[in-house]
Every structure is written in structure tokens, then in C-alpha cells.
């Protein structure tokens, strides 16, 4: 694949907006800051890929055209990408594909979602339940938490994972988020706090669940020759996507996120790196148990539970995971989520991440995102600038 750099990027704070600002304001802020970070001008951008999960949240159909207009981009290639929770990450890969195919030279990938402030939580929950099979699960009144809980139950039964394991993840990601000035939930909470929080869907409690957030994030993708800074930024080295059966009951093992492994193999093959070369990961922790299920599926260690209990995934561990705080800590404005994951991983590899960092930046980082319940899985491998 053509060498492709993440030329720059930026994100707004992820939170529940109470300041009267609009999603168009957030998009403008993330885009302008990303251009500054990449040392580029608006006129340098020849394609815009917008990531937005649902017009039910923005109440704007064809949002890509509207955003391009708001940003002062005209007469260029504009498109929108969607894939449930994976929307932002899929948009990054779609933008990269435009560069790789020679259809654009400098692509802005801009993700946003107004998941928190536009609608009440119950309405958002009802819409999210349509992310599964809307004709079966979606009609039964079940919410995301209960669907994830059923998958977690299956994984617990197979592996011996406990609620304490989930609570450790939930508390750690919130603690990680305390170093991240853009985070929605930078909470000083312990495992005991997680286990004492209100029951949502057994085994999950309130603090096991990621929040609904507002916000935007943007990255600029280009080949090194098309960038003023040349090769000084992280390389998007490998990209994979794979899907699984939509309904959990149709899967051979409803606790295992098999499609992630398929996507990972494709990404590793392109990147020309081995799984053991990956030294940092941002994974999709929409629920605490889902983080462990993701790590299990990705096969980043032989025994994920033993590794989790031994501190393998902490900032000081062999494979730091979700130093941004993940969805649990940083937040989850859906379209922006995957873009922000890629941005965090890139800045970690460049040694300039603003939040919690490992002692030494690794050479390779992994980004994992999914829609549904590991139904549509995107994995990317990023490489440090050399």
C-alpha cells in the first residue's frame, strides 16, 4: 500500500454540551485545529470524509455536504461514511483509500455526533437498539447494555472472568482519562465504586457503561510528498475490516468477537508487522467487559485474563491499553470516536500525546473499533515516524 501519513489532527472536548454550541461549531473547531496541526491551509484539502452515525441525532440529512459548506470547502470530493460504532474508524480507512487510489492528495476525515445534548437518554437508547437486528432485538425493547451483558455472560462462562475483572477495567479507564483534558468522564473512581454503582443489566452497572457524548474529531491523511512536514508524522500502515453475524444467537460463540481477529490479520499483513510488535492499543470499550473480549479476540496475549490481572494493560505494563481513557473515560460521540482513537494512537507514536503516555513510545500501535456488538469491526495498525 502507498505510504500514508496522519498529517495532523485535533479533537474537541467530549462531553455533554451545555454551552449552546452546535455540532457545526465542533466540526469547525476540530477541522481548523487539525489543519493548523498539519501546517496546511483549507485550500490544500481536496477531499472531505464525514463520519456521522445517525441523522436522528443531528437532524441533518446529507451532513457531509452541509459540513463542507460550513468549512468553506467547495468543488471538492465530499462523502459520508457510516458503520454504527465503527463509523469514525471506517471513515479514516475510507479517506486513506481515496489517497491510496489516487483520488485525492490530502483528505480531511471529520467525525462528529451530538449523542448527548440533542435528545433525552431514553430516546437515544431506543435509537441505539436499532443498531442490532431492528426486526428482532430492536423491537423487543432491549437496550445496548443488556445485549452486551448477554455477550459478556457468555464470555464469563467460557473464561472464568468475573465482575471484579470488569470493574478493574472500568475504574482504570476513568483514571487514565484524568490525564486527558478532552475526556468526558475523568473520574477518580475505584473498583469498589464501580461495583457499588447502580445496576443496569447484570453483570453491568452504571460505571461499566460508556457515556453518551457530544463532540468532534478530525485527522488529515496524505502521502508524505504532499505534506509540508514530510515524513515526521505517524504512518497508517495497515487497515482491516470484517463483519460477523448481526444477531448474537446466530454466532457459534456469542461471547467471542471473532471478526476482530479477521480484521486484525488483514491489517497486520499490510503493515508488515507481527502481533508481538504492537506496543500500544486503543480498543473499543463501549462496556468494561467488551474491552477484555476485544483483547481476547485480537489475541494480543495468550491469556487475556491472566494478563489483565497482572497489570499487563496499564500505562506501566507491557501493552498499555486505552491510555486516553477509551470510550469509558474519554467518551463516545459515535462518529468522532474512531477518529479520536486513531488520533490518540498517532500522537502516542509521535511522542506528543497530551495525556497518559508509556515510558517509551512504541513502534507500532493498534486501533480497534466496532459497530453493533463486534458486528462490523475495523482494525488499523499505525507505525511511528522514523
Amino acid at each position: 500500500m502507498k505510504v500514508l501519513r496522519i498529517a495532523g489532527g485535533a479533537m474537541t472536548p467530549f462531553n455533554r454540551r451545555k454551552d449552546g454550541s452546535s455540532w457545526r461549531d465542533w466540526c469547525l473547531a476540530a477541522f481548523d485545529e487539525a489543519l493548523r496541526d498539519a501546517a496546511l491551509e483549507v485550500a490544500d484539502v481536496d477531499a472531505l470524509v464525514v463520519a456521522s452515525e445517525s441523522d436522528f441525532f443531528s437532524l441533518q440529512l446529507n451532513p457531509a455536504a452541509m459540513i463542507a459548506d460550513a468549512l468553506g470547502l467547495h468543488g471538492i470530493r465530499v462523502q459520508r461514511v457510516e458503520g454504527g460504532g465503527a463509523t469514525g474508524h471506517l471513515a479514516v480507512q475510507a479517506g486513506a483509500a481515496l489517497v491510496a487510489a489516487g483520488l485525492a492528495r490530502r483528505v480531511a476525515v471529520l467525525g462528529f455526533e451530538a449523542s448527548a445534548s440533542h435528545l433525552d437518554g431514553a430516546s437515544v437508547g431506543a435509537l441505539y437498539s436499532l443498531s442490532y437486528d431492528a426486526w428482532s432485538e430492536g423491537e423487543s425493547g432491549i437496550g445496548s447494555a443488556a445485549i452486551y451483558a448477554l455477550s459478556a455472560r457468555a464470555w464469563m462462562a467460557e473464561t472464568g472472568a468475573t465482575e471484579a475483572d470488569f470493574a478493574r477495567v472500568a475504574a482504570r479507564n476513568r483514571q487514565n482519562a484524568r490525564h486527558n483534558r478532552f475526556a468526558h468522564l475523568p473520574l477518580d473512581v475505584t473498583e469498589a465504586d464501580v461495583r457499588a454503582s447502580a445496576a443496569v443489566a447484570t453483570p453491568y452497572r452504571r460505571l461499566d457503561c460508556s457515556p453518551l457524548s457530544d463532540g468532534a474529531a478530525c485527522v488529515i491523511l496524505a502521502a508524505p510528498g504532499d505534506l509540508p512536514a514530510g515524513a515526521g508524522r505517524a504512518r497508517l500502515a495497515g487497515m482491516g475490516v470484517a463483519n460477523d453475524r448481526v444477531r448474537l444467537g446466530d454466532r457459534a460463540a456469542p461471547g467471542r468477537f471473532f471478526a476482530k481477529r479477521v480484521a486484525l490479520r488483514a491489517a497486520l499483513g499490510q503493515a508488515g508487522c507481527a502481533l508481538s510488535d504492537v506496543g500500544l492499543a486503543e480498543v473499543y470499550d463501549s462496556f468494561s467487559g467488551a474491552q477484555l473480549q476485544a483483547l481476547d479476540a485480537l489475541g494480543l496475549t495468550d491469556d487475556v485474563l491472566a494478563a489483565e490481572r497482572a497489570g499487563h494493560f496499564t500505562a506501566e505494563g507491557a501493552l498499555p491499553v486505552n491510555l486516553s481513557g477509551g470510550l469509558l473515560g474519554q467518551g463516545a460521540p459515535v462518529g468522532a470516536t474512531g477518529v479520536a482513537q486513531v488520533l490518540a494512537a498517532a500522537q502516542q507514536l509521535e511522542g506528543r500525546y497530551h495525556g497518559l503516555r508509556p515510558a517509551v513510545p512504541p513502534r507500532f500501535a493498534l486501533v480497534d473499533t466496532h459497530g453493533g456488538i463486534a458486528t462490523l469491526c475495523a482494525v488499523s495498525i499505525l507505525e511511528a515516524p522514523r
Binding site: S140, A199, G249
Partner: protein
């Protein structure tokens, strides 16, 4: 700025309509592929062999709960219906019961599959109910 939408959809179920029509009556209509794989709920393509041909068959409507989650208001489960090769998400009609077998009943306030659990773990009870 405030904005309110009320959307009343009409959603034809097409080839899968017989399954949904049966569910409304509390009957479990599954799809048996030409390869013998029984899908409940049915899909348009067989997961086992990729074929699209087959026929509707009616299951007895009894099921075993494989995994369960309880929310403050309700309970759901992944359950496997007797005679089906796939499991399915069901809403539990009787969340106060924690038994593992039940039978399909017509949906209540929400659509979808509703499972009434047996009062005891008597393995024969659900079979007798069919008679």
C-alpha cells in the same frame, strides 16, 4: 431551538412475514434450509450452506435459556428453541422466575420474542404443555 418529529413507519417484512405473523400469535415458525439447518429466527440466506431455498416449519415453542441478564425493569435471555440450530434473544415474561426452560408466548407491550419461564425445573413440564 426546539424541534419535534413523530414518525409512523409501515415496515413490510417481505419473505420473512410468515415468521413475524406467527410470532404475534405466539407460534414459533422457523426456516428449514434444503441442507437441513433450522434457523429461528429465520434469515434470507442459510448461514450453514448459503442456500436460499427451504421451507417453513413450526417448532414446539419450548426453549432453554443459555444466558440471561436482568435490568431493573425487565429481563432478557439468549435462548435456544427446541429443534432450532441457532439461539435467539428473548424477553422474559416472568422475570421473577429464574428457571431455565420456558415457552414462547404472544408479545406484550413490545414486539419480539417473549418467553414465559416454567415455574419449576421439571424437564417434562414444557413437553406436557404442548399436548
Amino acid at each position: 431551538m426546539k424541534r419535534s418529529l413523530r414518525l409512523d413507519y409501515t415496515l413490510p417484512k417481505g419473505r420473512l412475514a410468515p415468521h413475524f405473523d406467527a410470532l404475534a400469535e405466539g407460534r414459533a415458525l422457523a426456516w428449514r434450509c434444503v441442507c437441513g439447518h433450522v434457523a429461528f429466527p429465520p434469515g434470507l440466506t442459510c448461514v450453514a450452506c448459503g442456500a436460499r431455498d427451504g421451507q417453513w416449519i413450526e417448532l414446539g415453542g419450548t426453549a432453554r435459556v443459555e444466558h440471561r441478564t436482568d435490568t431493573p425493569e425487565a429481563a432478557w435471555a439468549l435462548a435456544r428453541f427446541d429443534g432450532a440450530d441457532t439461539a435467539v434473544m428473548v424477553r422474559i415474561k416472568t422475570p421473577e422466575l429464574t428457571t431455565s426452560r420456558g415457552h414462547l408466548v404472544p408479545p406484550e407491550e413490545d414486539a419480539g420474542l417473549w418467553l414465559a419461564l416454567e415455574e419449576t425445573e421439571d424437564e417434562n413440564r414444557s413437553v406436557r404443555r404442548l399436548e
